[in-house]
């Protein structure tokens, strides 16, 4: 498991792995928003938590097909599947590697981008906390979507179509935590619900991903 994790991390960080693309995408989304809605500080502050969440979610989405597609193309996935490691563990490790190379950097860069959007003071902490809690769910759900579409030639758009509705609850609770945090309102309920979704996704979805992988590798 650890060897697989190391391998995935190394492949992602090395040239051609696409590491950092998600961050650049996040930056571009956040840069474009003021052009679209106007530079008013009050207006930007009101939508900043939501934009940060949406940008992180889209950046996550764009990097999903990297999770499995390359391994599937060069045949590595079949070798990994024949290894003694159960496919459920493979799916969990893939999700973890995706989170470490995409989710975690997005969490770390979010407060910096918050400055651009005039995020209110208490919001920084809660944007980071909500993203840190929520992005593992995005990775787990995304791995499931990638496992469903891995055998397809033009799976990219289909992957988004399948995964985006599944992201709805995570986005709602995550953005709600960030929004309430920025306004200084009580946020225990959405925070706990967000954590619940993440824990359930991380615990259960690897089984669904493994089932889909088994079908696709048949």
């Amino acid at each position: 498991m650890i060897a697989l994790l190391r391998r995935d991390l190394a492949l992602a960080v090395r040239a051609g792995g696409g590491f950092g693309l998600a961050l650049v995408f996040f930056l571009i989304v956040v840069t474009l928003v003021p052009f679209a809605v106007g530079p008013g500080q009050v207006q930007l502050a009101a939508i900043a938590p939501g934009i940060l969440w949406l940008g992180a979610l889209l950046a996550c989405l764009l990097s999903l097909d990297r999770i499995l597609a390359l391994d599937y193309e060069d045949g590595a996935l079949e070798l990994i599947a024949t290894a003694p490691l159960p496919l459920e563990a493979v799916a969990a490790v893939k999700a973890l590697a995706h989170w470490l190379t995409t989710g975690l950097p997005l969490v770390l860069v979010a407060p910096v981008l918050g400055i651009l959007l005039n995020l209110p003071g208490p919001g920084y902490l809660w944007v980071v906390v909500s993203l840190a809690i929520g992005t593992p769910a995005l990775s787990a759900i995304g791995t499931f979507g990638a496992a469903l579409t891995v055998g397809l030639k033009r799976g990219g758009l289909l992957l988004s179509l399948i995964v985006l509705p599944l992201y709805v609850p995570t986005l709602i609770f995550g953005a709600e935590v960030a929004r309430r945090g920025a306004l200084g309102q009580p946020l225990e309920t959405p925070l706990m619900l967000l954590a619940g979704i993440t824990l359930a996704s991380v615990a259960l979805l690897p089984f669904a991903s493994a089932a889909a992988l088994r079908v696709n590798l048949r």
């Binding site: 055998g151 289909l158 179509l161 669904a208």
Partner: protein, 251 residues
Amino acid sequence: MSDHSLRPVSSLWEFANPVRFMALSGKILPFVWVACVACLGVGLVWGFFFTPDDYRQGSTVKIIYLHVPSALMAINAWFMMLVASLIWLIRRHHVSALAARAAAPVGATMTVIALFTGAVWGQPMWGTWWEWDPRLTSFLVLFLFYLGYLALWAAIEDADTAADLTSVLCIVGSVFAVLSRYAVVFWNQGLHQGATFSMDKEENISNVFWYPAVLSMLGFGLLFVALVLVGTRTEIRLRRTRALMARASAE
């Protein structure tokens, strides 16, 4: 093949045999259609032309005879797909997978009808075509789930792979659809009235509206059954044709 279908039916699962299914569905389909047309015809005509206008909502209330049944079927169609997917994954009956596939476009259409009639109704009632109300939003999300499911079916060439993957998606999607429903309620408390109908007809609605509404709900239910049966039969025939063509080209 023929003496197979002569054996008396000993269990419900025997209808998973395509021959049995075709024979039975072929027999009941005309009755379902007749009952469906009768219920829809009587229910809708009665509802549209022979019920009084509501004292508060005027004649706009009559769209309820389309809105409520289609919304009901939109949810039940997904539920039926979930059951059919489970049966396919557990017992590997092809008819079940094909029925789930046949139900999806019908369910998606019902969702669109519910959203559209809701918008038409909402405009005079709430003064807006669209509002990010929990019920409306959940239906929109449900529609997105239908689209993803249909797209996955369409994208995969191998029939059994497609059936497996869409079944897994249907099960995971059901969990997330329910989650989204509660998340959306949490996110925004809305304008939409509570459910007007319940099986024990209570005080919300008078008998004048109740009977045609029940008839049209029954009609929509039968319409769904009929369309799913037709869709499943078409799929079975398509598969047979393909098998025959493959055999012919092999010879």
